[in-house]
Symmetry: C2
């Protein structure tokens, strides 16, 4: 794994491995945290991450969101949004409301119960995140945040972004 030769190819090779090692570490740290959060959401609130994410989208939009907009924001196809909203509606956490201007569409809202449930989950979720990131002191968290800014959206054209926007 060690150069000792200094020609470009060897250096390039070493860099490759550096990027790969970084990627594996990035992936494993993220996956570990995400799995923990997913598990706790399930155990403590009986909810999945996609459903939590959908509720998080709605929580910021008092006027509700259309199915199409949810589909775009969550970056999944329409059929999936239908099924997630169906499940949440069955639990009376969200509600489809007719859209005055367009009878094909409706606005999906959090219900009062949904808003309350989400508040509790969001509080817990935030405390888990703090706990799971706590091995890193605040200042280093800030550094990490800045470094990741460059990778956040993968530059211009590659691909739209995902669940937890900012």
């Amino acid at each position: 794994m060690n150069a000792g030769h200094t020609d470009m190819e060897v250096r390039a090779h070493a860099d490759h491995h550096a990027s790969l090692r970084l990627w594996l570490r990035l992936l494993s740290a993220t996956t570990r945290i995400e799995d923990t959060i997913r598990q706790r959401l399930r155990e403590q609130f009986g909810i999945t991450l996609p459903r939590f994410d959908l509720m998080a989208q709605l929580e910021r939009e008092a006027q509700g969101l259309s199915m199409g907009e949810l589909s775009r924001r969550m970056m999944v196809t329409g059929g999936n949004v239908t099924s997630i909203v169906d499940q949440l509606e069955k639990e009376q956490l969200v509600q489809r409301q007719p859209q005055p201007g367009d009878r094909r569409a409706y606005a999906v809202h959090l219900t009062p119960a949904g808003r309350e449930a989400f508040a509790a989950m969001a509080t817990a979720h935030e405390s888990w995140v703090i706990e799971l990131l706590s091995p890193l002191p605040a200042q280093q968290q800030e550094q990490l945040h800045q470094l990741l800014g460059t990778l956040k959206t993968g530059q211009p054209s590659l691909k739209p972004i995902h669940p937890h926007p900012e």
Copy 2:
């Protein structure tokens, strides 16, 4: 959560949001890269990430690995390993070989074709990783690598790192 209204609380609140913002950024950067890799593996090699990962485990172990060991390393239950190995064996990329000492177990190996296929995929995979991380200069990648070291395995005390416990 309730400590009364003090500076502490305000500071804590601010920190919470900082951690949350960091987490969302970490998740979105990682997910974006992972989704891209997953999609390219599927399009260019007709393989999924779990299958690729399983082959990667085998590639480093000339003597093969037992199903149980694969299950531990991939942090999924045994039934899943059976099904992934079934699929790979059907494509003749891996092979179950009887274990001399224990007739319940066998060693799973890459076949020669599997080894060849994996080499091609791994080369492509590495170049994608380099590409996707390239917005970040090498030195900053190194910084990121170090910062993530602290989060890699979630520290001692927090939780028994059981992947999918229950």
